[in-house]
Symmetry: D2
Subunit: 380 residues, 4 copies
């Protein structure tokens, strides 16, 4: 009986000093349907073993490489059910490919790959394998992001006219890569990260959020990418003007040199009849402002939320849902899908970012770089 | 090697329809050091088994009663390392007693027991057993609550003169117990809950937070407890004026009929030189206002936070830490303590609510009821 | 034709170093129906003349005493239409009496007098004179305070169960009177101020706001007045538990030693169906929270506000109305009343604080002091 | 002695149904140094006379045209000291020219004229006349805008890298001009308003604020102006990417179809070391966020504000300063200048927007329209 055991997860990345690896582990296990049992936590076998101990998994299952993990796990009766990819962008494609070609589903960190060409290849691999592939656009897991999406779809604010989405951070205001800060170092190295810096690291989140909430596609854009900190090899500040599929306009700001900002992801969607306002630093409220009438503040777990939002709420009113919880929503959906897929090849759930989101995200990076290079509008 | 496996947890309570049981499970497992392996999830063996399946544990370890769980687990080589109590208040004492007397440490939901007499008995049981006993005053797990505590201790706002703490909810504004709502029903039944209603359910949280942050003891109080909703047998609205050990004054408000409030726990501490302001609905900021100079807003994970606060932060700046995370901090401390205690009988960590907090909390309920009954100030 | 000229105002107080005198002048003149033409700005004739120059009025009309002003103005064809009292509390009665007995209407700063006995005498003087008398409880002039009052009256939140009103300032956290600060010095001197310190200066504002918004009377209270700063002769910190005429409970906090607070006047009214939340530091929004449904944030000048609120709004949406504007609402109402009273002895408008508010405010101070002295509940 | 009387003001515009005329009157009179004594309130003599009555001025001085007002007032011993222009944009130039050529100083509403060519002519007229000319960019009157300007100048946030300024309103989301709404009708008529719609009405405010606070000039821009509401003849939504004189980037958003917004003027200035955040809907706080350390919230009237900010604060801490008060700061500075200019031809104060601000504002509109037309960057 499928319900009687947890899904087994193998993690690639997440070794000593990592930020996002442990977050994947926590989020995956949050709802009690998944457990971390194996990993290739580092390209150094010693560091991988050390990480395995800190995760308290069976030491035999802390592998020295993802290839080894895949090969060994395939032999076990209690093999991993899926692989999670939490490494720098340049390895996303080879890991995903290896797993999928070995018949193992994949949950991947974003952006999907390092370059647009790579994601087109990945798209083919996913199609060929016919296996679940998910992408952790964390913010899609928030109850009120889902409520905003549902309100847009229901026409609550009328046809969308204008969207302002911004993701502003300040942590790269100085050249901290010069002093070897680990999180900064790979992100500003085009070889590990791909050609997009800020645009890939956080611009894609903003881009995904805009399409996710509005249900509209970006069809053209004009971008301006700057490397503000002297000597930096990738962009650290991005501005893009967007044309949306219904004729509306989008403005997207992403920056890692916005000194003093923490994790300032915010979106405002203006329609003919009103607007929606959400920000990640206060994720448990969504404000609906109308052309007439008082503003409405909607709270996570309000009984009046849309069914999609209520489906991902874990706590009673007023208890703030946090980042891990949102992250974990994606894992829960992934786990549900995986089980349903095993039973009857179920389709991916509409709310879970997958390969289409992967392709569009990489396309966004590639198009923004191109527009910034030429100074012209480009088709999407 | 102690580090190489997770601690095994047995849960009492948390069966179908429960709110806090699953929260305990998530919080306990969040940091990867604990796993739920057994439970007496319901007093109905069938319901307990069903819950065991939903938790995906070994079906053999979903017991029909806590007595059975303790007896059976004692026989196993992979026995539970501790018991978690997440049942209505009236059973807290017998479960804790049974576990402790069987040599098993305990983590308990608050309030510690149903009555003040019971907690005095529990205090003796804990002393006799010489085992770890923890109490999940969730809010003590927030990074910025710990920062506030550290700032008070460091004299940053000078000697405390006035404290206003409030915990306002609106969910019992109507007699929802009349229609059998499960969360409401046991809370308003003195037999299951003890004589204090709102004062025990949330007043104790406010009380604990006041003493926890200020480092001061309540030495006298005058309380007014009301049952505002007609026919309700316990208080649903409480006000208390407090005398603190340094001569300062406290005002404590707790209500479950504050219509429109979600989970409004807020504290303001006024000293000679400034004040501290924190609220649970926006838990990732702490405001320090001084008699002169701009207000300071301190953010979770700021590098400038006190060491105690930084020790419990899991995420980089701007990523909101949530309720589960705070809860999980207590479990992590408990787990660390448990291991250290096994190794060398280590003392309880100062930051973890334990049996002293248990006694004081029950004393608070008992004193508030007494003062409200007589209309007089009472010694604490 | 009455509309063709402005009303002429004579100001008592408001000399060099004064805070509230100039505020009266600005507020009075804001709506273009009143002009300051005369004054007894100081008990020193030289200072009064200097103030007259700074106000740019006719130097002949800057008098050395209020008695002189009244006597001289009575002789002029363009005599003042009313007197404004903006002096320390101890002179409120003699000035008001002199003006009213000379047939001149009065607008007075609050509290109405220095003691409860004095206001009872004033009440008789007002009755005998049959002239307009107004009291500047500034906060009653805010559009959203009037909206809250209208929503309560309309039953929007159901019968009131609980009210929390607080007025917290920090500016007297230190003994600034010791260094001769003018605003502090008279306020802490019982001879100039009366026996109530903080309770009279700002507690009365909180008290008035509670009765004004809810439409309920306080019928009993228990107060605790403290002089926290060493050597201070009047209270600087007050707490009162109130019984309201419908059986509801009120909690009133007023403090001038709440270090770090600016001008923290806030009120929350909880009814059976929802609650209202307003604060003076963000006066242009009123939040309505219901037991079910999203929160509603109402903005000054929203077309959806109650008629009473719309009547006192001067600006389009989003332009914040300020303190002066609120103050000026009262003057406008007073001016309208004055003209209507001249024409046909019109009754005072229900929305303008008048002699009843004066009496109740002084009663509140007197009762709070009494309760604090005895430690007992007192009838109101 | 100049101090002994108020300055006399003549108002052009401000007749029945006007919004901004009465605001000018209130702001001008707020500080007690100016009084409205004459006006050409409407191009209809009857309406002008009616307005004169409502303003309670001498009926003789409510003129039928500005030409008549200027001619008549010149004959009086108590002639007006200056003219205020509060009419639709197309008449700003002729009125200003007539007044200045008659030797009368001018305070004008913004934008300075209807077109860029007109403001170049005005610039010559002002130079020839050698008379004071002021422009009411209201937002420059806020204490905390001045504080932000002073902090930038003092290098508190380091060299500026990025500025985001937005002015979002929703009141033209529907075609309310179709139903004859007076405020809308002239604004969307190019003949009365000039070619810029939203860009002129509010875009200029955002533009002025950016240059005012940062002390930087815009040197190039790329703008996108849209007419979103069908049939509208001027722009109602604007986006501009700006190059600033030090190489920094600016993003300017202005919209009158941002449904649900009230008066959303907000600015964020990011420097190398930190950032400044201000918004007009909460004008009494300024937030300073640094790359390290807690955020600082600065309050109007804080003793720690910059001298420029303290100079324009009228109230003690926590009392919100409002829109009228800010407006009145400009009048006070204008009045001071006017008197100093009469005495010794004093230079215009640096903090008061004047003819340079007038020219730059009109240039901005003209350049934005040009860039939007061509789709290219344009020099400023």
């Amino acid at each position: 009986m499928a319900e009687s055991r947890k899904l087994r997860m193998g993690l690639v990345g997440g070794g000593p000093g990592a930020f996002i690896g442990p977050v994947h582990r926590i989020a995956a296990e949050l709802d009690g349907r998944i457990e971390l049992v194996a990993g290739a936590f580092s390209s150094s076998p010693e560091k991988s073993r050390a990480a395995g101990l800190s995760y308290r998994i069976d030491p035999q299952r802390a592998y020295g490489s993802y290839e080894e993990m895949i090969a060994q796990e395939k032999q076990r009766p209690d093999a991993i059910d899926f692989v999670v990819i939490a490494t720098p962008n340049s390895t996303h494609l080879p890991v995903a490919k290896a797993a999928l070609e070995a018949g193992i589903p994949v949950m991947s960190d974003k952006p999907a790959t390092a370059t647009y060409d790579q994601v087109l290849e990945l798209e083919k691999v996913v199609a060929r394998a016919g296996l679940p592939y998910g992408l952790t656009h964390t913010y899609a897991g928030y109850a009120l992001v889902r409520d905003a999406r549902a309100l847009c779809a229901a026409g609550e604010i009328g046809p969308v006219r204008k969207v302002v989405v911004e993701y502003l951070q300040g942590w790269l205001s100085e050249s901290i890569e010069a002093s070897g800060q680990k999180q900064a170092s790979w992100r500003v190295d085009p070889k590990l990260n791909g050609p997009g810096g800020c645009i890939g690291d956080i611009g894609t989140h903003a881009f995904h959020l805009l399409e996710y909430i509005t249900g509209l596609d970006v069809i053209a854009l004009q971008g301006t990418l700057r490397s503000v900190v002297e000597g930096r090899q990738v962009d650290d500040d991005c501005t893009a003007l967007l044309k949306l599929s219904n004729g509306a306009q989008g403005i997207l700001l992403a920056s890692q040199i916005a000194a003093g900002e923490g994790n300032g992801l915010r979106i405002r969607v203006y329609g003919e009849k009103g607007s929606l306002h959400w920000q990640q630093e206060n994720p448990n409220t969504l404000t609906l402002r109308r052309t007439a009438g008082p503003d409405e503040t909607r709270h996570a777990s309000g009984g009046y939320l849309s069914p999609d939002a209520r489906a991902v709420t874990r706590l009673p009113g007023g208890h703030p849902e946090g980042y891990f919880e949102a992250f974990a929503v994606l894992y829960r959906e992934f786990a549900e899908w995986l089980e349903a897929w095993r039973a009857n090849k179920a389709e991916a759930p509409a709310t879970l970012p997958g390969i289409r989101a992967a392709v569009r995200g990489m396309r966004f990076i590639e198009r923004a770089i191109e527009s910034s290079r030429t100074g012209q509008w480009v088709e999407f």
